[in-house]
């Protein structure tokens, strides 16, 4: 419950305050957003499975975002930034898809 309330508060605060993102972080935003989506879908599925845990949800959220951004950053430094982005997107995309499929089975029993 705390996690959901906190997230909602954060979203509202973000919409109201509209903080600016530093320019050198800009390239990692898309990947971070996809990672956040993956954590959200994972949390929703866990909730429907009846094993949701706030601590796990928030830590997976944080680590997903940080690790995804780090991998892309590392890729940029090695000159394979776009390929790294593709790799991360593929992995996270597959996870999002299968979690979404599991959620669908829970909700529609089909």
């Amino acid at each position: 419950m705390i996690a959901v309330i906190g997230l909602v508060l954060g979203v509202v605060a973000g919409l109201l305050i509209e903080p600016t993102v530093p320019a050198n972080l800009q390239p990692y935003l898309p990947i971070a957003v996809v990672a956040a989506l993956d954590a959200l879908f994972g949390g929703l599925r866990a909730y429907l499975d009846g094993i949701f845990d706030e601590r796990v949800f928030l830590t997976s959220f944080l680590s997903n975002v940080v690790v995804a951004a780090l991998i892309v950053f590392l890729g940029d430094q090695l000159g394979v930034g776009s390929q790294m982005t593709t790799a991360v997107i593929v992995v996270l995309g597959i996870r999002i898809f299968s979690n979404a499929a599991s959620i669908r089975r829970h909700l529609f029993k089909a």
């Binding site: 705390i2 954060g10 605060a13 928030l58 597959i94």
Partner: protein, 315 residues
């Protein structure tokens, strides 16, 4: 023998080399959820304290804010790029205005120079002054007016250009046209309001056609002062006429019309690049009268066409 050997080996799964893909596909949920649930069921889960609850709340708020900020930042175009663009645009406008101002100033000054030179020559050497007046017209330094031909050449429409790049008017087309007009007896020629003189260059830079260093764009209007009927018939007999006719095949629109009155601007003062004393007369050596300086009179000369201009359209 071989059978016993096989039993001794550990059993290998057929897709053992694809553990990574299997991991991604079959266990998309973070195993942490299951472990936490197991711990709760076993009663070994750590007890929730106020501190950990506050920590969770802060983390959740931060993550929610981060996600929202990222999403909004991605949705709007980069402000830095827009600012840079606006700055460049403003700079371009400012510089263009400056260039225009300088051009006007330049024209003013060259008119003044011409006037002063004309006055000096008129008093010192009336014969030379008359010669200069006469030469100013073919040299193109003074504005002229009179009857003549107007030829408008227009690029094909976007579809035609996308279809065939030949639908664009090239520098060669305009060169052939202008040279054809000179050959057909034109006394003065202007291209899009820029007077064409003996040193004028018409050339391409990328997709643009330049006259000297001024970029032109379609439609290209070529105006020539002279006897319209004569020029038209002579043009038709020359290569330039055939070339113009062939342009239509590429989707380029060519309109030829005789005009009762055309006004062509002057080129302004010419830059003196080399000079030589005429006749080697010692008396003239000090003043350095140069053949290349063309000296316009203060008023535009009227170049009258010999034939009667008719306003009919060419076929």
């Amino acid at each position: 023998m071989s059978r016993r050997h096989a039993e001794a080996l550990p059993v290998r799964e057929a897709d053992a080399s694809m553990t990574l893909l299997k991991e991604v596909d079959r266990r998309p949920l973070d195993p942490g959820y299951q472990e936490a649930a197991d711990r709760r069921a076993a009663g070994t889960a750590p007890r929730r304290t106020v501190v950990s609850a506050i920590g969770l709340l802060v983390l959740a708020v931060a993550l929610g804010m981060f996600a929202t900020t990222s999403a909004t930042a991605l949705r709007r175009p980069a402000p830095a790029a827009i600012q840079a663009r606006a700055l460049l645009e403003a700079e371009i406008r400012e510089r263009t205005a400056q260039a225009d101002e300088l051009r006007v100033l330049n024209a003013d000054l060259s008119a003044q120079i011409a006037q002063l030179q004309g006055r000096a020559a008129a008093t010192d050497d009336p014969e030379l002054f008359a010669q200069l007046q006469h030469d100013a017209v073919p040299a193109g330094v003074v504005p002229v007016s009179g009857p003549g031909l107007r030829i408008v050449v227009t690029d094909g429409d976007e579809e035609a250009v996308a279809d065939d790049i030949g639908a664009l008017v090239l520098d060669v087309d305009l060169q052939i046209l202008v040279n054809g007009l000179w050959a057909a007896g034109a006394e003065a020629v202007a291209l899009n309001g820029e007077r064409v003189i003996s040193t004028t260059a018409i050339r391409s830079a990328g997709d643009a056609v330049l006259i000297d260093s001024t970029p032109l764009s379609s439609p290209y209007t070529v105006e020539a002062i002279g006897d319209a009927a004569t020029m038209q018939t002579r043009m038709a007999r020359q290569y330039a006429g055939q070339h113009l006719a062939s342009l239509a095949g590429y989707g380029i629109d060519v309109q030829v019309s005789a005009q009762r009155m055309l006004e062509l601007p002057g080129r302004g003062q010419l830059t003196l690049r080399s000079a030589r004393v005429l006749g080697g007369d010692d008396a003239d050596a000090g003043t350095g009268t140069a053949g290349a300086t063309s000296d316009p009179g203060p008023t535009p000369s009227d170049v009258a066409g010999s034939g009667s201009p008719d306003g009919e359209e060419a076929p």
